[in-house]
Amino acid sequence: MIAAYLVLLIPLVGILYFALSGHKTDTGKLNIKFNGMCLLATIWLAVNVLNQGTILSSGKFFLIDPFNVYLIVLTAFVGFTTSIFSSPYMAHEKEVGKLSDQRLKLYYSMFQGFMLAMYLVLTTNNMGIMWVAMEGATLATVLLVSLYRTPESIEAAWKYFILCGVGIAQALFGTILLYYAAVQIGDGENALLWSVLYENADKLNPEILEIAFVFLLIGYGTKIGLVPLHNWLPDAHSEGPTPMSAVLSGLLLNDALYAVVRNKMLVDDATDSNMAGYLMMGFGLLSFLVAAVLLHRQKDIKRLFSYSSIEHMGLMTFAFGIGGPLATFAALLHMTVHSLTKSAIFVTVGHAAQLAGTQKIDQIRGLIKTQPRIGWGLLIGTIAIAGFPPFGVFTSEFLVLLATMHSYPWLAPFLLLGIGIAFAGLFRHIQPMVYGNKPEGQQAIKANLWPVIIHLALVLWLGLAIPGFLANWFSQATLLISGSTPL
């Protein structure tokens, strides 16, 4: 259990340290160290869970089970590699005069604040605290979106704040309804604990839970970026600093989906109907298709990949909605590979934008000629995210497709159509950026591409062969969520 406390304590110390000490030249390196320590703590935690199974802290305040522990490790890993990327990136932003020391202090402090909120969402056993932490994640990142203080970034941050704030208020109403159903059967203080709710889920009032789930899905769905609640997402991703886009896409969206799935498990047990699943399938498929079409009309490279995030989150929501062991396994795998691939892509995109001095797609040209590593990174990342074999995204998308053909065959054509449209949408933009002619005077920049290489290598590994302990982990989580195992 000490490991779990460490995971929360390290970022807390980080916030206070960065906020109080002011910005120095080595703050970026220190941020890497904080995230590195956190990663070690989460690995320790994961080993504990692997040996002992589910851990419930003595006050029942924290719950670590196979479902959330792998997300915790994933969060720490992406946080760590992003901080490696962010250190030289932010130094470059300061050099070109976009940011001051004061802003960098805010940036590093809130980076840790965001990590803390993410860990709290994942580790807490209390559905109310989960909401509080989710809102906390918005509050921590809203000033980072407007970090550059351009009119566009302020507009994006305002939209993000209002839309996510109002959206997530719906989730609180859902949580209150859940609590209302829970106090009718149990004691007050413990009634919102997930472990207690899950044990008594079949006694909860089904009518109230059905209403509650609608609100929870709308609320957390705003954060997942489900269409039609997605408007904030491309704005916030494109206007904030790139390391922030990487963690927003790679982590925040996953954690919001995690919250929905936790609630779905309760509703499924209480109602015996698949109402929650149908809702998730509908919203998921809609987001998937709409985002795939919108990919074609983008002119900003970061907006392009944020629509791709919406598309993939839609696919995951759809897969969790289908339920069943195969679809759930695929969704869990897809969460992992999408996080890894998408944060790698944002890292490369960040470098590409610094190289070209703009985020406009039609002005970024000739990446491979200027700096081959960035060009190849972007190309391979895009190939991976578009779902080409042998990368992991192919495996998980294939499994989703398989599960769909098994349960709802008439939906499979829509999925194939969406994948095809998205593929075309990505490549029509990527092709000229990578291969086109090099503009005059474009110079190579200092770039650290290790995070990209590691992430893409992992995705490749997951595509070729999922290591035994990880597969075991996924199937335990699948067992927990869907009631049976796929292997």
């Binding site: 809102e135 351009t150 302020i154 507009e155 919102l192 209403i211 983008q298």
Partner: protein, 225 residues
């Protein structure tokens, strides 16, 4: 349901629900910002009263803490902050001409009916009083959203946002006698941070577009035009 047969606490809750709903409608039709903020403070005060009443009748001391938190945050701090902002921007004499005021009010009334319709299945498992309380909370939330849609000033948006929180809070107090203490403290902390962030944002928006009219925040589009 015969209202005289209910105990005093239930009757009081019903009247409070009616009054809270009324304040939401008052805010919806209000074009002057200072009055809007005043009505918002009034709604906060009604919530404080409800919480204190619940704490007293149900003998639940931790609700007193919630009551004090509400009083400090929603009746004093946030209205004070917003009022200061209005006076600084010299907007206190402006009267925002609300377009389609009649339709907005009719829309508000329909939202209230809709809330009752959505929550009606709850009657099967609990009392009619509970349905009233929850439906009013939900309609306060929806009316808060409508307020944000129909007003153009950023300050009105903040009032709408906070009034949504009020609706949630009312639901938590009346339906479940308050959430567990840790959750309630967490929510109050989030509201406080959100209020401070709004203050910072006013500063940024003012310095970037020299106004607090959110219609001027229109540079980003879903697809390029």
């Amino acid at each position: 349901m015969n209202i005289e047969q209910l105990d005093f606490y239930t009757q009081a809750i019903l009247s409070m629900a009616a009054l809270v709903g009324l304040t939401s409608f008052l805010m919806l039709g209000q074009g002057r910002l200072l009055r809007l903020i005043f009505v918002f403070a009034l709604q906060g005060f009604l919530l404080t009263l409800t919480t204190a009443l619940a704490a007293y009748s149900l003998d639940n001391p931790h609700l007193y803490i919630s009551a004090v938190l509400t009083l400090v945050l929603k009746v004093i701090f946030i209205p004070w902050m917003l009022r200061k902002e209005v006076l600084r921007m010299k907007m206190h004499r402006d009267n925002e001409a609300l377009e389609n005021n009649t339709f907005v009010m009719l829309g508000g009334a329909s939202l209230m009916v809709f809330s009752y319709y959505v929550l009606h299945p709850i009657v099967q498992s609990s009392s009619v009083v509970m349905l009233n309380a929850l439906a009013v909370s939900l309609s306060v939330m929806l009316l808060g959203m409508l307020l944000m849609i129909s007003h153009r000033q950023a300050i009105a948006h903040v009032v709408g946002f906070m009034s949504i929180e009020n609706g949630l809070f009312f639901a938590a107090i009346v339906a479940t006698n308050g959430m567990p203490m840790v959750v309630e403290l967490g929510v109050a902390f989030d509201v406080l941070v959100a209020a401070v962030l709004f203050g910072i944002f006013f500063l940024h928006i003012r310095s970037s577009i020299d106004s607090l009219d959110v219609d001027m925040l229109n540079r980003l589009h879903e697809v390029d035009k």
